[in-house]
């Protein structure tokens, strides 16, 4: 069955091309044999009329032309109107004597009032009313006595025949195409090569859109008419009759709802998919790129309002990410019917019409919020991405290429710049610190483009302050943010005592940046990090950090050496757990191995060394406390005895010295030397 159908449709399609000429030829052939057929069959309606009109030779002459009056009874009988009989339409002939006069034109609108009314409002109907000889009436498309249902392949307006029906007039070279103002040309050719035409004519898909699908069958209006189905405002609705899921197809590019609500700000379907030429590819056409450049290629072009240059560098655009985007796709309010299409533009470019998801992110961000408050400092799309020369983030020339991002953000966030001035948080010298950080060095010195840059942590478009729970740098989200790259660390961290899930603590727990800082992140094997970690841990673990400095490891650290064990060398860094936890590096089972990292041959007993011992706590470390005070008592006792002994000795010692000097003086005077002056020196 299906095969038969296809075959029949194919033959019909081929036949259809010649429908009109064949009709004429058949009529003329039938005319020569008119009169042969007689009104033998009286039963079917109209049998009486067919007694004469069944004769192919029956003709008449009107306005000097011979016209066949033959009616194919069989066809008529099977047509939609077969049951009505002749007088169902030619009501004025009812009861008239034969031979009757020329009947009045049939009024299809008697039954088909809606279609009649639509036709009257349409381009075609108005032409008929004007008396345009080229204007089509019902009969020109639908035929007369052989009208079949639209779905019947025999119908003159069956989908497969529609292009040809319309093509009777709208082909190239017809009087209509030559003499009437029709904007499009080569309509039929373009259509037959378009995706729609191909589907209909080559693939035989009867559901493929024909002329009437877009232009409507009866209410055909010019595209300039606001009521027209192909007007800019309505075209989306027209196309979405079939392409109902087009929103999901275009969801990353165009917010579908806007097509209906704000069609004027958006490119219409036909801006990209030109009428009659629609193919399933992207079109490089510009609605009027050349028209725009007619003015905007002039380097001296200035805006009268403020003297701003309106020159557009074609080279810049053609090398940009938007090289295949037409001017009017961004500058969407242009009106091609004006001499200056741009004079209808009332607002700036709205990137969100294509970049919808990013637009939503931006609006929720601090940048976007400031922008919606009309803050002059708020960066918009173009502040970061530029305008006509916009490049993708993968282009090394782009301001948004990873290695350029710190410089881009620095324009506002460098100390002294506008964003840094209004910032009230605790991060300062952000750019300088980042540049010296491990990330900054990796990105800017080592040139590793995968290194974290500003946007890696803060996101590009959803930038929010850390106090915002939705922010990627909010304490609750920091591990996940860092974990984007440092996944293994995040896993360890989430199983450590510092993770809320494990500790169950209501206190504020540290996250990555509390130990590593936000922007001044250093290598953890550098001395600076190793020496600062005690203070870092000590922010929360103040007592235990203090007592660390009472033992050897801490004392050496205090001297400025990084080599001795630091907090994380024993406790673990990201996998730190309570020492009571069997998985801890310091648990009974693991502690000796931990010590062995530095102390080769260390035993479980060696690990009994108290690394946080203090001799100031008699309850916790009584033996240390009493040892210390025992030693101190010994020390003080010795010094008190020794000191008292010395102090008591002093007066006698001075006395001895005086006596000695006197004896010496005596001896020297005996020697006869004058040493008066020297004596006084000695006395003093």
């Amino acid at each position: 069955m299906a095969e038969n159908k296809v075959v029949r449709w194919n033959s019909n399609a081929r036949l259809g091309i010649f429908v009109a000429p064949i009709l004429v030829i058949t009529l003329s052939l039938l005319f020569s044999e008119s009169g042969r057929a007689t009104g033998a069959e009286a039963d079917p309606p109209g049998a009486e009329c067919l007694a004469c009109h069944g004769e192919k030779s029956l003709t008449t002459t009107r306005a000097g032309r011979t016209i066949s009056l033959y009616v194919d009874g069989k066809k008529f009988a099977t047509s939609v109107h077969g049951s009505f009989g002749c007088t169902g339409c030619h009501a004025d002939l009812e009861g008239k004597d034969l031979p009757h006069d020329t009947p009045a034109p049939v009024k299809c609108g008697t039954c088909h009032s809606t279609e009649q009314e639509q036709h009257a409002r349409s381009l075609h109907g108005k032409a008929v009313a004007r008396g345009d000889p080229l204007a089509p009436r019902c009969i020109n498309c639908h035929g007369n006595h052989d009208i079949y249902p639209v779905k019947d392949p025999r119908s003159a307006v069956a989908p497969l025949k529609v292009p040809f029906v319309c093509g009777q007039c709208h082909r190239e070279g017809t009087p209509v195409s030559r003499n009437r103002p029709i904007a499009q040309d080569n309509i039929l050719e373009n259509y037959s090569e378009s995706i729609h035409g191909e589907a209909l004519l080559k693939k035989g898909l009867s559901v493929a859109p024909t002329c009437a699908t877009c232009h409507t069958p009866h209410l055909i209006l010019p595209h300039t008419d606001p009521a027209s189905s192909i007007n800019r405002r309505n075209i989306a609705a027209t196309c979405t009759k079939c392409h109902s899921q087009i929103e999901t197809v275009h969801r990353k590019i165009i917010r579908g709802a806007l097509w209906e609500k704000e069609a004027n700000v958006l490119p219409a379907c036909v801006d990209c998919h030109q009428p009659h030429k629609i193919r399933n590819v992207f079109y490089t056409q510009g609605m009027a790129d050349a028209d725009c450049m007619h003015c905007h290629a002039d380097e001296k072009l200035r805006r009268t309002r403020d003297g701003q240059s309106m020159f557009i560098n074609v080279g810049e655009v053609s090398h940009s990410r938007h090289s295949k985007v037409a001017c009017s796709q961004c500058h969407s309010e242009v009106n091609a019917s004006r001499v200056r299409p741009c004079e209808t533009i009332t607002r700036g470019v709205d990137c969100t019409s294509c970049h919808d998801e990013i637009g939503k992110q931006y609006i929720s961000s601090t940048h976007g919020q400031l922008n919606s408050k009309n803050d002059p400092n708020a960066p918009t799309c173009k502040e970061c991405h530029g305008t006509h020369g916009v490049l993708g983030k993968h282009d090394p020339q782009s301001a948004t290429f990873p290695t350029n991002v710190p410089g881009l953000c620095a324009r506002c966030h460098r100390e002294g710049q506008k964003a840094a001035i209004r910032y009230v948080g605790r991060q300062h010298e952000i750019i300088a610190n980042y540049t010296e950080s491990i990330h900054g060095k990796g990105l800017l010195k080592a040139g590793l483009t995968v290194t974290a840059t500003c946007t890696s942590c803060h996101t590009a478009h959803r930038v929010l302050p850390r106090t915002d729970p939705a922010s990627t740098v909010n304490a609750a989200n920091v591990p996940a943010t860092c974990g984007q790259c440092h996944h293994g660390i995040e896993e360890q961290f989430e199983n450590s005592i510092h993770a809320k899930r494990i500790s169950g603590s209501a206190k504020e727990l540290p996250v990555c940046n509390d130990c590593h800082t936000a922007h001044a992140i250093r290598r953890t094997d550098e001395d600076g990090f190793r020496l600062d970690i005690m203070q870092t841990c000590g922010r929360c673990h103040s007592e235990i950090a203090k007592t660390y400095f009472d033992t050897y490891h801490g004392k050496v650290s205090k001297l400025g050496y990084a080599k001795t064990a630091k907090c994380y060398d024993c406790h673990g860094a990201h996998d730190v757990l309570a020492v009571t936890d069997p998985r801890s590096h310091l648990s009974r089972a693991n502690v000796a191995v931990t010590c062995q990292k530095c102390h080769v041959g260390a035993t479980r007993r060696f690990a009994g060394y108290l690394t946080h011992a203090t001799h100031h706590d008699p309850r916790k470390y009584p033996f240390l406390f009493y040892t210390f005070w025992g030693m101190t008592a010994l020390l003080l006792g010795t010094f008190v005895i020794g000191g008292l002994h010395t102090l008591l000795w002093l007066p006698r010692a001075f006395q001895m010295r005086r006596e000695l000097r006197a004896a010496e003086e005596k001896a020297s005077t005996e020697l006869g030397e004058s040493v008066d002056k020297e004596d006084s020196d000695a006395q003093s």
Binding site: K558, L559, F606, L610, L635, F639
Partner: protein, 297 residues
């Protein structure tokens, strides 16, 4: 010439005068080995003190500066342990020397330990101590001290005590893995406290009480170089150790124990060394006082 004389400091003048006026021959108080051991002890002791105190007072700026000057904490540790070996060497050499002394001079340990020149405390030391206190408060005359006074004996045994206490704990801290095979780990904490506080006691005592008793006493100011030269002017022996002097005169052995004094150049070199040691010692005392009083935490 008179002008130059005016500019001389009292000590230099005295040295010049003694060279000119004092008899060339002096009493031998210390043997060459004893003098060498004392110098070795000074060097190792000051070294141990400086390197050790950097750790003890690690919270002072001075400690960090000194530690860096010494080449870092590891280098300082190596220096500390080297000095400790020297100290142990000094101690052992002295013990061997005592043994040889016993064999050559005294014949038996009894004679060595209980003879008139014994270092062991005796009843006489106690009476001399009481007599000294009386003299201090003006209730009697200065006792007639023998070869070793009670404070010299105290200093001598303080070294024995120090070597035992600081040395043993020091070894424990030097070889913690070995010692914790049979000692609990927390013993290392105790050893640390004992080692460092005993060291503080030793340095504090040597650089204040010992310095005063032997060098800074006004009648000997600024220093007594007998321990470096080994020689003592006879009148000083007469004055400071009258009992020994009289015993020597009585036994007629005095002349055997006299030798010529060192030439001035040697004396000057010895004084220079002693000044450095004194200065370092006082520097350390000041540092300790600063660290204990103003920077202690």
């Amino acid at each position: 010439m008179p002008k130059a004389e005016v500019l001389e400091s009292p000590s230099v003048r005295r040295a010049r005068m003694s060279n000119a006026a004092v008899p060339e021959r002096q009493f031998i108080r210390f043997t060459r080995l004893q003098r060498i051991l004392h110098i070795c002890m000074i060097v190792s002791f000051i070294t141990l003190a400086l390197t050790g105190l950097t750790l003890k007072f690690s919270y002072t700026k001075w400690a960090a500066v000194l530690s860096h000057l010494l080449g870092g904490f590891e280098s300082a540790g190596n220096i500390h342990r080297s000095a400790a070996i020297v100290m142990f060497g000094v101690f052992l050499t002295h013990l061997v020397d005592l043994y040889r002394l016993k064999r050559r001079v005294h014949g038996s340990w009894r004679a060595l330990l209980l003879g008139p020149s014994s270092m062991l405390p005796t009843r006489r030391d106690f009476t001399e101590f009481v007599g000294t206190l009386k003299w201090f408060v003006g209730m009697g005359k200065r006792p007639a001290y023998g070869r070793w006074t009670y404070w010299e004996k105290f200093d001598y045994f303080a070294v024995f005590w120090g070597i035992a206490v600081i040395g043993s704990t020091g070894l424990t801290l030097w070889f913690p893995v070995f010692f914790t095979r049979f000692l609990p780990g927390s013993f290392l904490n105790i050893a640390t406290i004992i080692h460092s506080d005993e060291a503080l006691l030793a340095t504090g005592f040597i650089f204040t009480v010992h310095f005063f008793n032997t060098h800074l006493r006004p009648e000997k100011f600024p220093m007594d170089i007998t321990v470096f030269t080994g020689r003592m002017p006879l009148e000083e022996l007469q004055r400071d150790k009258p009992r020994e002097y009289e015993a020597l005169v009585a036994s007629g052995q005095l002349e055997q124990k006299m030798e010529e004094a060192y030439p001035p150049i040697v004396i000057r070199a010895i004084r220079a060394f002693a000044w450095v040691a004194l200065a370092l010692g006082f520097g350390i005392v000041l540092w300790i006082i600063y660290a204990m009083l103003f920077a202690y935490r």
